[in-house]
């Protein structure tokens, strides 16, 4: 059944149940992936998936929902019945409606959809990549975590008022995590992830080089003294921390009182005037971009922080209605509609006179800690309290030397961190999670593992 046929089926089944108002989101995907172990294929995987989420509004305008992987005629009928039953328990305290933007025109960039290269080619490419990575340095003994995958999927949103949106695209991913071992030293591991629209678009050589360089650069390590340090966040690590505390910009979190912000926080100064942060799901470098959200609202670029002050929150239909604004294209379809950011872009604003521009990670000769990658985000971040304590991979720069840090955590408070940004470097870097320059923060606590 294709997406138009599903819409027709749902419409017919809804009529039988006397359900006048409904919408649905569906996704259909075919995924292929390979893993290797020292030149041998380890696991080869293919999957065909379909997921349908249907919402219905009952006569009291309460919403019920059901999710199913059974997209047969009987499966759709069962899903509608279940959703109708669930609607008896719909949230009376906060109503949900269709997005007023669900029929608005969509600004879609050129859809880059590739053809499958096939499992055999994926395997050949990954085998070669593993060999090259193993050969890149004698201390690299294995590549325990590796994979090359390609996905082809279609997403659909439609509702009973005639909105219908769909798009299909492809995406490929390569990850290589090497393990290096040297006598009388602890094993060290690091890696790289690259995305592309198709397997042929992935920059395999740079993934190998990055995985190798990062792993080798940590071979000579040392403990770090527990203390407060000047910190330089890599683009990747700064984006990680901003995403972890994105509830500050999330209207759903604000309504649920799990955010550090409140309804009146628009205009609140969070950071130096030199800082701008956008959510830009449609950015041309965002390979995972989606033209509309779970409620059919078009995705768009939205300024979250303008010159250090909160400019906008991200919204679903219902949160936007409560805040008396318009949806922003950040909704995820569910019984309780979720809200989440798409792709964060961090920039230096024009108001950057107070920055200490001598702080440049490639030239600064004073002592600082460079945080390359933050780990264990799910465990070490307390978004509702604003605190974090996170293990990281990084280096201590001291006396002109760069020493890998054996094992350490960085701890602090997000509001303190944002307020204590002392430099935003000029050059931005594209990562899998967004775009950011290097960001310098004064005085964060580092605990070393003795």
């Amino acid at each position: 059944m294709n997406s138009r046929e599903i819409t027709t089926q749902i419409s017919k089944a809804a009529d039988l149940l006397n359900l006048k108002k409904w919408d649905y989101g569906a996704s259909f995907s075919n995924d292929y992936s390979v893993q290797v172990d020292k030149g041998e294929a380890k696991q080869l995987k293919a999957s065909q998936k379909q997921i349908l989420t249907i919402r219905v509004w009952n006569q009291s305008n309460l919403v019920g929902i059901t999710t199913t992987s059974d997209i047969s005629e009987s499966g759709i009928q069962k899903a509608l019945k279940q959703a109708n039953i669930a609607s008896d328990f719909g949230n009376k305290n906060e109503t949900t409606e269709f997005s007023p933007l669900a029929k608005d025109p969509i600004k879609v960039k050129e859809v880059k959809k590739r053809n499958p290269v096939g499992i055999k080619k994926l395997l050949t490419v990954l085998r070669e990549a593993e060999v090259k990575l193993l050969e890149s340095h004698e201390s690299i003994k294995s590549v325990p975590y590796n994979g090359l995958s390609e996905s082809f999927f279609e997403r659909v949103y439609a509702n009973s008022e005639g909105a219908f949106r769909s798009y299909s695209k492809s995406q490929a991913a390569l990850y290589l995590y090497a393990r290096a071992e040297e006598k009388n030293k602890k094993p060290r591991s690091s890696g790289s992830v690259k995305l592309g629209y198709g397997a042929d678009d992935i920059d395999i050589e740079s993934c190998i080089k990055e995985a190798s360089n990062k792993t080798i650069s940590h071979l000579n390590y040392s403990t770090i003294k527990t203390d407060k340090y000047l910190i330089c966040f890599s683009p990747d690590s700064f984006l990680t921390i901003i995403n972890a505390f994105s509830s500050m910009f999330n209207a759903r979190s604000i309504i649920d009182r799990v955010s550090l912000s409140n309804k009146n926080s628009i205009g609140e100064k969070l950071s130096t005037e030199a800082l701008n942060i956008y959510d830009d799901g449609l950015h041309e470098k965002n390979i995972s971009s989606t033209p509309f959200d779970g409620e059919g609202t078009p995705t768009k670029r939205l300024c979250l922080i303008n010159r250090g002050r909160i400019e906008n929150f991200i919204h679903s239909e219902s949160t936007a209605r409560i805040f008396k604004t318009t949806p922003t294209g950040h909704a995820g379809l569910g019984s309780k509609v979720s809200v989440s950011p798409d792709w964060i872009v961090v920039e230096k604003s024009d108001e950057n006179f107070d920055l200490k521009t001598s702080l440049d990670h490639s030239t600064y000769e004073g002592e600082f800690v460079y945080i390359e990658e933050l780990n264990a985000i799910h465990a070490g971040v307390r978004a509702s309290q604003g605190s974090f304590s996170l293990p990281f991979d990084g280096w201590l720069y001291k006396n002109g030397k760069k020493i890998s840090i054996k094992s350490a955590t960085v701890a602090g408070d997000i509001k303190y961190l944002l307020k204590n940004i002392v430099n935003i470097e000029s050059s931005q870097e594209v990562t899998t999670g967004g775009i950011s320059p290097h960001i310098w923060v004064d005085e964060l606590s580092i605990t070393g593992d003795a």
Binding site: Q43, L44, N93, E94, I119, P391
Partner: protein
């Protein structure tokens, strides 16, 4: 006539599918596979969320699908699909065979499926015995109401989820089993706030195979516990970082053993070459006070199962006995690739994952000391009453957040402290667990790894670690 034709051409739950399954397996073996495994599931799930004094989300979901795994030598191809027709399943087998590039003529022998082992017989009525959405909603609302004990509590949440999974497993070694699994979990969360101070508290409870368990859940005790935890931590200072002895509480304190050591004892880690314990069988890897167990047989525990996802009944595996490594947790691929015998630990989140060696109910066995003995033995240290989440890096370093902690001074519990993180490596910390309490208790959790998220139990008595790095400010 029409009915039997339909049955022979599509998997039908609750019916005998032997002929169709045999046909699929014969097809795979005939194409040159060494081994063919079919895992089919039908799920009926439901979740309910109560926030403050309202039900804000009721989410039923259902689905079905199949995962087909083909082995050739030590490599395997896995294909998952929602298409349970004969055509769909055969297409998946063909796809797996093609992926593995099987061309040789050598054929394994398949003698048909063994007698059906049906573990679901006594469980077919579970779906009618579990509480209704109405009943769940009422109890959740009573629970969130009872969390409203003062005006410092600014958010109150109660959540319930029920997963009913019907499975059929058949493979070319003759395995043919059916089962029904039921998991229920309920959790309470609060956030407390006063001026610039904020804290949170949460507890989760869970069971397997016990339809009535939610009705028996003591929500008053749970809400008191969550409330007290959040109040105790509301004005807590940040802990000072450093090396110190710690006492880890029982129940969810066992998450550290699970994450930091348990995963390193799964054969998937041997396959990757990422466990320091690979060649340490029958060697001392922990303090002699430590005996650790992984099993899937404790009645009602969240990680228990009648049969694993590869059709093997779970066993009780003593992983570490008096500090000596005795066993690894193994699945079919683990046995094939590492030689460690299967332990009934082949597990997966659902049909779209190939099974892997995964923990079930994993805990440190009880010792001889009281909780007070452990605390009295420390002049300056940290008591970790409640643990948050954690993770283990690719080289075995772990990091765990302490949700509720108290300083120990001169053998007594003193001030609450927040922001503590425990950092270390299993290889270095296991020999430092010098005292085990006599109060073993288990707690449910979800473990995410190579084959998805599975239900597990973690546990331990109170334990003392002589020295560990505590991250703080």
């Amino acid at each position: 006539m029409l009915s039997s034709q339909i049955k022979s051409n599509e998997i039908v739950f609750g019916s005998c599918n032997k002929d169709l399954l045999e046909e699929i397996i014969f097809y795979g073996i005939g194409l040159g596979a060494d081994f063919v495994e079919i895992f089919i599931e039908n799920t009926d799930n439901s979740s309910v969320l109560a926030e403050e004094d309202f039900i804000t989300s009721v989410s039923p979901s259902f689905g079905r699908g199949a995962g087909i795994r083909i082995f050739k030598g030590k490599k395997d191809g896995f294909v998952s699909t929602n298409d349970l027709t004969k055509h769909g399943l055969m297409r998946s087998v063909s796809q797996a065979i093609e992926m593995l590039d099987i061309t040789e003529n050598k054929r394994e022998v398949f003698n048909g499926l063994n007698k059906h082992r049906d573990y679901s017989l006594s469980k077919k009525n579970w779906i009618n015995e579990v509480p209704s959405i109405h009943e769940i909603s009422e109890k959740l609302l009573v629970s969130t109401k009872s969390l409203k004990k003062n005006n410092k509590i600014i958010t109150r949440k109660g959540s319930y989820s029920r997963n009913l999974q019907e499975v059929i497993i058949a493979s070319s070694d003759g395995t043919y089993v059916s089962d029904i699994r039921l998991h229920q979990t309920v959790g309470l969360n609060v956030i407390a706030s006063d001026a610039q101070y904020r804290s949170s508290g949460s507890r989760r409870f869970g069971s397997s195979g016990m339809p009535n368990e939610f009705r028996l859940w003591d929500h008053e005790k749970a809400s008191n516990d969550v409330f007290e935890s959040s109040m105790n931590m509301l004005y807590a200072d940040y802990v000072d970082a450093g090396q110190m002895p710690v006492v880890l509480a029982n129940k969810f304190g066992g998450v550290i053993f699970h994450e930091a050591c348990g995963h390193l004892l799964e054969t998937t880690q041997i396959e990757r070459g990422t466990t320091p314990f690979e060649n340490k069988l029958n060697e001392k890897i922990a303090h002699e006070s430590v005996t650790a167990i992984d099993e899937g047989i404790s009645e009602g525990s969240f990680g228990s199962l009648s049969v694993d996802d590869e059709g093997m009944e779970p066993e009780k595996s003593v992983l570490i006995k008096d500090g000596i490594l005795k066993k690894f947790i193994s699945d079919r691929a683990g046995e094939l690739r590492t030689g460690h015998k299967r332990t009934g630990s082949g597990r997966r989140q659902n049909y779209s994952f190939a099974a892997a060696s995964r923990m079930r109910n994993t805990y440190i066995a009880k010792g001889e000391y009281s909780k007070e003995d452990l605390i009295n033995s420390i002049s300056e240290g940290l008591y970790c009453k409640s643990m948050g989440g954690g993770s283990v890096g690719a080289t075995g370093q772990f990091n765990f957040a302490v949700e509720e902690g108290y300083l120990i001074k001169n053998g007594k519990l003193t001030n609450p402290v927040k922001g503590a993180t425990l950092i270390g490596e299993a290889k270095e910390v296991m020999p430092k667990i010098s005292m085990c309490g006599n109060d073993l208790e288990l707690a449910p959790g979800f473990c995410g790894s190579i084959s998805g998220s599975v239900n597990v139990t973690v546990g331990q008595p109170h334990i003392k670690v002589d020295s560990i790095t505590v991250g703080g400010r």
